[in-house]
């Protein structure tokens, strides 16, 4: 008998008509690494909640079929009991802290206290786990003071000290920067060697391909495939999951391995493709240029606390090219964006918007010309109807009600939510609420739009939609500036990239030029886009940003 047996599981959330899970049957062996993929709303998180019993015990709703974990019925065994066997780590690191403990060490011990583990044993486990996850130096720090990546490792440690047989990771890195994600994935990699059963839900498909023994592809609550990465990715595209770059490119070039399947990881692709592919020089990409200056930033410095500068004498000029700002958490990206929007005032230096110094203007006064979309949509949504929420900004800046409504409907069309205009925003999923927040700023029809991490919580189709929106806004002559951690989107949707580290601009130019410079990537703690990375490993001199670039440049050696 397998460790986890799921048989014909069906589930519907309360007050909904659609099945969130519809006839799932799988068996998960002890010690295996299972990846779960699928588009937003496919049922991934619901499935993980069912394995730990939160569905149906916490969420209620209609439940059919069975989930048996090591002989226990997950629908009836209390979650607090089942959590001795199954651990769950989810997206938001902040909400996983108990909030009752003021040091990392005490936080990690919180669960063990609940289970009555003797204090000597508690200390032994906590010491070992902090060491293992590389967070021992934070043991006496307040967990709320840590960065997202560090906090998420504390969350993982807090679960692992309970020594569960199964660890479920529900998009554990979706809210982290590349360096923070890497910290978490390093921990995950260790776990794969420890014999613990890992179930990981991820949108970062290359990571899933790298670690998983088996992958479960869900769509619309149903199981599409359950098999090896190569098997699953062969048909994932039709279900909203774009296969990893190595598989897409090797398939396009028709280079398969001895079993006639295409490699899903970069490592495997390099092994198979090396020596078979060469690259010709690609001609310089033609890019739209722009000479009209929108923002001019002169010697801008900023500090929150006297004496500790977050930005050091930054000078930049923005024209109308879509511009991505990249760099690690704490590099000063959000501070720069907030200064541009007038939410913060420069400590030194000046910011000019269309030639006018913004110092004397409030953020509200600037809002008719500069839009800003915040990371978390729940920090702004307050109207009970989507359309009213989107009209709030336009009306504030003095548009007539008719104009505001027209602009709002137009913006909702752009984010593909025109059919949701009469719904309550809180009935929408997080990725849709993010789109509502985006539309509510687009509807204000500003000359410049600043986006802070627009891709968080979006699946592949959401990311593609955002790329399209950026293109359309640029075509309308608007400046789009976006803070981004998703290098693949940077490579495909932006014509200018500004890399920041420690409060300074360390590189600024076309994406291919910024990504060419390895020292920039190192300093900014960034990874190459996946296509470019494979290209470089296979010997391409040029930086190949997109599939199209790659396939135009690559040719099969005779």
């Amino acid at each position: 008998m397998a460790y986890i047996e799921i048989d014909n599981l069906k589930y519907r959330y309360p007050k909904t008509k659609k099945l969130a899970l519809d006839g799932i049957s799988i068996q998960i062996e002890k010690g295996s690494f299972l990846g779960v993929i699928g588009r937003n709303g496919a049922g991934k998180s619901t499935l993980s909640s069912a394995i730990i019993g939160l569905v149906p015990q916490f969420y209620k709703g209609a439940y059919g079929g069975s989930v048996i974990v090591d002989g226990l019925d997950a629908s009836r065994t209390p979650v607090s009991e089942l959590s001795r066997k199954v651990g769950l780590v989810f997206q938001n690191p902040f909400n996983q802290l108990s909030g009752a403990k003021d040091t990392v060490y005490d936080e990690v011990c919180f669960g063990m206290q609940n289970f009555g583990i003797p204090s000597d044993e508690m200390r032994r486990r906590a010491d070992a786990m902090l060491e293992k996850l590389g967070i021992a130096q934070f043991r006496d720090r307040n967990p709320f003071d840590l960065s997202g990546g560090q906090m998420q490792r504390v969350a993982i440690a807090s679960i692992l000290v309970l020594q569960p047989d199964v660890l479920i990771l529900d998009e554990p890195t979706s809210q982290l920067d590349p360096a923070g994600s890497e910290e978490v994935f390093k921990v995950v990699e260790q776990l794969t060697n420890d014999g613990i059963t890992v179930i990981m839900i991820e949108q970062k498909i290359d990571k899933i391909a790298k670690y998983s023994d088996k992958i479960l592809l869900l769509d619309d609550g149903k199981m599409v495939t359950y098999g090896t990465p190569s098997e699953v990715f062969a048909e994932s595209e039709a279900h909203g999951v774009i296969p990893p770059a190595p598989l897409r490119l090797s398939r396009a070039l028709n280079i398969a391995d001895e079993n006639n399947s295409y490699p899903a990881t970069e490592e495997a692709a390099v092994r198979i493709m090396n020596g078979k592919v060469s690259f010709k020089d690609v001609r310089e990409k033609e890019r739209t240029t722009s000479s009209e200056e929108v923002f001019r930033i002169e010697n801008l410095s900023f500090h929150y606390t006297e004496g500790i500068n977050v930005l050091h004498s930054v000078s930049l000029s923005f024209d109308k090219r879509p511009t991505a700002i990249i760099g690690q958490n704490g590099a000063g990206k959000t501070t720069l964006a907030k200064l541009m929007k007038g939410l913060l005032k420069p400590s030194e230096g000046s910011i000019f918007f269309k030639g006018e110094d913004t110092k004397a203007k409030t953020a509200a006064a600037l809002s008719s010309s500069i839009g800003y979309v915040f990371q978390n949509p729940d920090d702004q949504i307050f109207k009970p109807r989507v359309l009213d929420e989107v009209m709030f900004g336009p009306v504030n800046i003095g548009m007539s009600k008719e104009d505001a409504e027209r602009k709002a409907i137009e913006a909702l069309g752009l984010v593909h939510l025109e059919n949701a205009k009469n719904r309550n925003p809180y009935d929408l999923d997080l990725h849709e609420r993010k789109m509502v927040a985006l539309a509510s700023v687009i509807a204000m029809d500003t000359d410049a739009i600043i986006l802070d991490e627009p891709t968080i919580a979006q699946d592949d189709s959401g990311k593609n939609l955002i790329a399209r929106i950026i293109g359309e806004l640029a075509e309308k002559g608007k400046l789009v500036v976006s803070i981004l951690h998703d290098m693949d989107l940077v490579a495909t949707a932006f014509t200018r990239v500004i890399a920041m580290a420690n409060g300074s601009v360390i590189d600024d130019g076309k994406p291919e030029d910024v990504f060419r410079d390895e020292s920039t990537l190192m300093k900014a703690g960034l990874e190459l886009p996946h296509v470019a990375s494979l290209g470089r490993k296979l010997g391409s001199e040029s930086v190949l940003l997109t599939d199209k670039d790659f396939l135009e440049s690559a040719f099969i050696r005779e």
Binding site: V79, S83, A100, K338, Q380
Partner: protein
């Protein structure tokens, strides 16, 4: 992180006194003068509070609390001294304004009650970690949920204040003025408060799940990372305080009967 807890471990003996001993002290030092009903009892209580705070090197930090209360006490003196119903004997006058003895005495008593309460509470608050109070309560049979609420409030409230700042920024970005006339601020209330409430509801729900998967609701005996070793003095002082309070109570009954 900004913490709203006023606790600071300054290494003095006062920080090592058991939270329950401090709680018993507060009860005794408030109840005894109340039973004895004389001003000198308040004077002794306040002197004791101050002596303890000085010895625990915490008087300086208690000062802010006391200064804050002075405005209230001054108001009480003014109102009682001038307008109290029992006022008969004029004590002194400032120009045409006459202060009366009866009212001022009442105000003095109320002022002493307030200062005594503030000082004795500050002995607890300034030298005890909220988490320790919560842990000890839980260990002595109070519900773990109650102890969770006590210790989490101190970290959740500063977090909510942080969220409030972000929300203000998000609405200002959409052209809503948040500063200026009262009418502008009134208009800004709903757009600011709604996201605070909804996002804390969402956070609470997630946190409830996070607690549950870490066995918060698990049945069976809990264990503790640290055990607070009660000092011999803790027990002795607690017994003394109970006896003193009891005696004062008896005194109260006797004087009432006679």
């Amino acid at each position: 992180m900004k913490s709203i807890s006023l606790y600071k471990d300054n290494g003095t003996w006062l920080c090592r006194v058991h939270p329950f001993t401090k709680l018993m002290y507060i009860a005794a030092v408030i109840l005894i003068p109340l039973f004895l009903h004389t001003l000198w009892a308040y004077a002794v209580a306040i002197a004791l509070d101050v002596a303890i705070l000085i010895s625990g090197k915490s008087l300086k930090r208690a000062r802010a609390l006391i200064i804050f209360s002075f405005t209230i006490i001054a108001t009480i003196f003014l109102i009682k001294g001038l307008f109290d119903g029992d006022n008969i004997t004029p004590l002194f006058s400032l120009g045409s304004i006459v202060f009366y003895k009866e009212g001022l005495l009442k105000a003095l008593r109320t002022g002493c009650v307030i200062i005594n309460m503030l000082l004795s509470f500050s002995i607890l608050v300034l030298t005890t970690k909220p988490e320790d109070i919560a842990d000890e309560m839980e260990r002595h049979g109070f519900s773990p949920r109650l102890s969770y609420v006590i210790s989490s409030v101190f970290s959740i409230i500063p977090q909510m204040m942080g969220t409030m700042d972000t929300i203000t920024d998000a609405q200002r970005s959409r052209g809503m003025e948040t500063e200026g006339k009262l009418s502008v601020r009134m208009k800004a209330f709903i757009p600011l408060i709604t996201p605070v409430v909804t996002s804390s509801l969402i956070n609470t729900r997630e946190r409830a799940i996070a607690l549950e998967v870490r066995g918060f609701g698990a049945k069976g005996k809990r264990s503790y990372l640290r055990t607070w070793k009660k000092h011999k003095g803790d027990k002795a002082i607690t017994i003394l305080l109970i006896i003193a309070t009891f005696l004062a109570f008896i005194w109260k009954i006797i004087t009432w009967l006679i």
